[in-house]
């Protein structure tokens, strides 16, 4: 285990690369005037003079990958749209629900125009006349900021009919979700936007062919859409200079957990995880030590301390380590935490959030929740550890959406990497970590 010597702090990189978040510290950046002072909407003017296909090509060339979690090439996604004049929709996924993630919220609160400009450019590129920003219900301030910014944008002629004399019409609306995790899944979000129960749709057909109101639809994350503006400004070639070969650009990371300085940090992809923890994050308080890191939101498989010290924050390295970059939510766990309790906590979340459509997920999440809480209450059986693995294994890749995998993957990684803690709990009826005795903890329930 890596011990932290405070005198060595300078060894870690602490420099942020503020590309998207350059002006987030300025309160006036939130309003139209302040935004325009810093070059706002100039890229829209530039983009409207480009042929739409050139924008798509530029985004494709930039290597931009979806920032919402799946990391799919944005340009390629846009390319799936049918080449005709059928009405199509652009949806911004701002239903930021992945535990540990809070970057979209900051973006919407600090720079709503940045997102709006990115969306207008993207809509122009894919020839969409209507877009929605689907915002998580609890994000009051984000919604207020977006509503105000939209009004300003309409007044200034950036939205509506014949935008800046280009002949391109576009309308944009904010839609408020009701706080369901599953509505962050793109087809679940589409169902919710259609006024239906927020449940993912069976694929194929994929949204690019048949999405919102059965029309071709593109769903992109807040950060992804905002980045489009900068790709137009600086060109794909410049964007590629940031980050690594397969993970271009910068990314906002939400650092949370047992860390001295939690918060959002923007760094180029490929940045070392240890720098994020010990450099930017300021390491641990009270001489605690690193035990584990969940690198990409709660669905990402956990890394142990040794893996964390080696990992770099990009799509390919984390995939190689058996985890994923996900939404860029880094949850740091120190040695005062009981991993059984951490897993039980996660399982409670997935049990609560499963939409209940597919049987393996509906029943499996509840089962995992019950088994992990049974271990946590000191009533675990020896076979429960294997059972956790078996159940998780059979939930993986068996359902319509990825929520089942999101619940299964943490189980598999927690149990395999911290098996000693699980075995201790089952054998002794209490946690291996001192001070976290959870005997008699309430059984899994809502």
């Amino acid at each position: 285990m890596q011990t932290l010597d405070l005198t060595e702090e300078t060894k870690y990189l602490t420099k942020e690369t503020k590309y998207l978040s350059e002006f987030y510290h300025l309160p006036e950046f939130k309003g139209l005037a302040g935004y325009k002072n810093k070059g706002g909407y100039q890229d829209l003017e530039k983009a409207l003079k480009m042929p739409p296909q050139a924008i798509i090509d530029e985004v494709k060339a930039s290597g931009l990958r979806g920032r919402g979690g799946a990391g799919f090439s944005t340009g390629m996604k846009w390319g799936f749209l049918p080449k005709n004049n059928e009405p199509r929709y652009l949806l911004c996924n701002a239903d930021e629900g992945e535990p540990g993630t809070f970057k979209d919220r900051m973006m919407m609160e600090k720079a709503p125009h940045q997102l709006i400009e990115g969306m207008i450019i993207s809509a122009f590129a894919i020839n969409s006349k209507k877009s929605y920003i689907y915002v998580r219900g609890e994000y009051d301030e984000s919604i207020d900021a977006l509503e105000a910014a939209l009004q300003e944008a309409y007044k200034a002629g950036y939205l509506g009919k014949n935008i800046l004399g280009s002949g391109f019409d576009h309308d944009m609306d904010v839609y408020r979700g009701a706080g369901a995790y599953i509505c962050g899944e793109e087809t679940g979000m589409i169902s919710s936007l259609e006024g239906l129960k927020g449940q993912p749709k069976l694929k194929p057909p994929f949204p690019a062919i048949q999405g919102y109101l059965k029309k071709p639809t593109i769903v992109n994350n807040v950060e992804t859409l905002a980045v489009v503006k900068y790709i137009i400004r600086d060109g794909a070639a410049h964007y590629r200079t940031l980050g690594t070969e397969k993970s271009a650009g910068t990314k906002l990371f939400s650092l949370s957990g047992n860390i001295a300085k939690p918060g959002n940090y923007e760094v180029p992809l490929g940045y070392a995880l240890k720098d994020m923890i010990y450099g930017m994050g300021g390491g641990f308080k009270n001489n605690k030590q690193l035990k584990a890191v969940i690198p990409g939101g709660s669905s990402a498989p956990v890394l142990n301390a040794a893996e964390s010290m080696k990992a770099t924050l990009d799509y390919e390295n984390l995939a190689q380590m058996g985890s994923m970059l996900g939404s860029g939510a880094i949850i740091v766990i120190d040695d005062s935490q009981c991993m059984v309790q951490c897993l039980a906590n996660l399982m409670h979340f997935y049990h609560h959030e499963s939409c209940g459509q597919c049987t393996p997920c509906r029943e499996g999440t509840g089962w995992l929740d019950k088994i992990s809480h049974s271990i946590l209450s000191g009533h675990g059986r020896r076979q429960d550890i294997e059972l956790l693995l078996k159940v998780a294994d059979n939930m993986k890749g068996k359902t319509i959406c990825a929520l089942s995998d999101a619940a299964a993957l943490p189980v598999i990684s927690f149990v395999t990497k911290f098996r000693d803690e699980f075995e201790y709990f089952v054998n002794e009826g209490k946690s291996k970590v001192k001070g976290t005795a959870f005997k008699g903890a309430p059984h899994a329930s809502h």
């Binding site: 369901a180 129960k197 069976l202 194929p204 049990h351 609560h352 959030e353 499963s354 939409c355 209940g356 459509q357 597919c358 049987t359 393996p360 509906r362 029943e363 499996g364 999440t365 509840g366 089962w367 019950k370 088994i371 049974s374 059986r381 076979q383 429960d384 059972l387 078996k390 059979n394 890749g397 068996k398 359902t399 319509i400 059984h443 899994a444 809502h446």
Partner: protein, 557 residues
């Protein structure tokens, strides 16, 4: 060598694939599950139903496709050229076993008190893929046990596997939208939207398509264990649509009716009204023996044959213009032909009338299955009338009865009285004849009972009325025959069972009236064969009958 007739249109070229080693050709766009179903291959599934949209939620119809490391669901995967599919590998079996286990961990396992036991999808698949001891040690999810969804259906939420077949049925087929799935995750339950009840003309189809014991029919539940019932195919005689149905019966009678697939007629569904047909077929509702009113008193318990022979004597001595026959659209084509032949050739009369219930509007149609003409064979009757050159008007009958011109009246009454609102009124008309011969499969309270109203109407007719003979008739379940439906489609059905042994068919009556005796030849081979022994495909091998025989049947749908 003859030139091969290769198809010129590329889009119509069938797609070749192999399923479990069998080389098949399917139409473009066919899903794997459909291809398997069409080719009698077994595949476990709960949510998929050929008559509904694809939900893809039960995750049980797993198949392995060569070249794809992950097992796929067969219901949402379209067959492509050269696809090699199998669902018998260990990988698939393991996936199905786990899929089943997820369905069962919160299942209450109350089979001993569950009405679905014996024809339950969970039981069937457990026998096929499960047979393990449950590893679920935790407490099961508690849900509502007896939910009254409406006048016809009861819900047990704990048994429900949330396959969404019933909600899709009310959304897509009946389009009544009463049902929905409420709450999330393993708290999700089927329910009705605020203040609504599951109350539509097709509600019981939800019970048929429910693969488990969650939705049960209020009419059928707890009446019989399904393994004590035999199943036989026939035609519904509830209206002129002529839905294909299976009836379930034993020696006590019929217990329920379910739809049987026919793409030309009813697809996968039938209406709730049609499911009540068994009620007027069962013994309780039936006329068991012949009865006669003569010399101001009733004589009961007369053997039907004896009574029919007496009638034959009566008709033989009558003048042709004094004899009349009344028919409804509720008998078979064969009976019409035999009866008309007897009356036209033996009795030389064309006084044959079509009794049409006044309420019926033949053209009414609810857009799905229910039609205004509540007779299964009006078309058959009209066809036979045409064949024999019968062209009569009902008012003539009324007139001729009043004037005393018609003295011997034979009425082959309807089986399904519920749609004959004019019964009482018509009977008082018939009683104006000197001799009324009323043939009926069901009890006719208007004629039989000793109530004052009857005595009164008999009193009124006393001047002319000399005899009333009630003859028991076989219900349509007890005879083979043909119904011609609203669009002229002739559907032949076989005899299901015999419930009232003494009752006679129309064909037998025609013979007896004509003075012939009933020889065995009348009972054609087709009459003797019951549908059970001739059409049940699941009795193919001993192996199948040894196993749970429902596996075969249900595994295909």
């Amino acid at each position: 060598m003859l030139p091969t007739n290769a198809s010129s249109n590329a889009s119509l070229v069938n797609i070749k694939c192999s399923i479990n080693g069998a080389e098949l050709e399917v139409k473009p766009g066919t899903t794997i599950i459909q291809a398997m179903q069409d080719n009698a291959q077994k595949i476990a599934h709960y949510c998929w139903h050929p008559g509904l949209s694809i939900a893809g939620v039960c995750r049980l119809c797993m198949v392995e496709i060569a070249g794809n490391p992950k097992v796929q669901i067969a219901c949402n995967t379209v067959v492509t050229e050269g696809m090699k599919i199998n669902n018998t590998s260990e990988k698939v079996k393991d996936a199905v076993k786990w899929g089943l286990d997820f369905h069962l961990i919160n299942h209450p396992l109350d089979c001993p008190i569950c009405d679905q036991a014996g024809e339950c999808g969970l039981q069937d698949q457990y026998m096929e893929y499960g047979k393990y001891t449950s590893e679920m040690a935790e407490k099961k999810q508690k849900k509502q046990k007896v939910v009254d969804l409406g006048p016809t259906v009861v819900l047990d939420s704990e048994r429900c596997i949330l396959c969404s077949r019933c909600t899709r049925f009310t959304d897509e087929v009946s389009k009544t939208h009463e049902l929905g799935i409420f709450n999330r995750g393993d708290h999700a339950e089927i329910g009705t939207h605020d203040g609504k009840q599951l109350d539509n003309k097709y509600s019981l189809n939800t019970v048929d398509i429910c693969p488990v014991g969650a939705l049960t029919s209020k009419d059928f539940r707890f009446k019989q264990r399904v393994w004590y019932l035999k199943e036989s195919a026939t035609i519904c005689n509830g209206c002129s649509t002529g839905c294909n149905v299976n009836v379930y019966f034993n020696k006590e009678g019929l217990f329920r009716v379910k739809p049987k697939y026919n793409s030309e007629v009813n697809g996968y569904w039938m209406c709730d009204e049609g499911r009540t047909i068994y009620k007027f077929v069962n013994k309780e509702a039936r006329l068991l023996k012949a009865k006669q009113y003569k010399d101001n008193s009733w004589q009961t318990e007369i053997p039907a044959g004896t009574a029919a022979k007496e009638v034959a004597q009566l008709l033989k001595t009558a003048q042709p213009e004094e004899v009349a026959l009344v028919l409804t659209g509720q008998n078979t084509l064969e009976e019409y032909e035999a009866l008309l032949a007897t009356f036209v050739t033996t009795f030389k009369t064309k006084n044959i009338y079509h009794w049409w219930p006044q309420v019926a509007q033949a053209k009414d149609f609810d857009g799905l299955l229910l039609r205004g003409d509540k007779n299964p064979n009006t078309n058959g009757l009209l066809q036979t009338f045409e064949k024999f050159g019968i062209n009569t008007e009902w008012p003539n009958l009324e007139q001729n009865l009043k004037s005393g011109k018609i003295k011997q009246l034979v009425v082959i009454g309807p089986e399904n009285l519920t749609v004959y609102d004019d019964l009482k009124q018509k009977i008082s008309l018939f009683l104006q004849a000197e001799h009324l011969i009323y043939v009926s499969s069901v009890k006719i309270a208007e004629l039989e009972s000793r109530e004052e109203s009857l005595e009164q109407s008999l009193e009124q007719s006393r001047e002319t009325l000399k005899t009333v003979t009630l003859l028991p008739m076989k219900s349509y379940i007890e005879k083979a025959g043909t119904f011609v439906n609203y669009k002229g489609l002739a559907q032949t059905f076989k005899k299901v069972t015999t419930l009232v042994s003494e009752a006679l068919t129309g064909t037998e009556l025609a013979k007896l009236f004509a003075g012939e005796s009933l020889k065995l030849e009348v009972l054609k081979a087709a009459d003797l064969l019951t549908a059970v022994s001739s059409t049940r495909k699941d009795q193919v091998t001993l192996e199948h009958s040894k196993k749970n025989e429902f596996v075969f049947n249900r595994g295909r749908l």
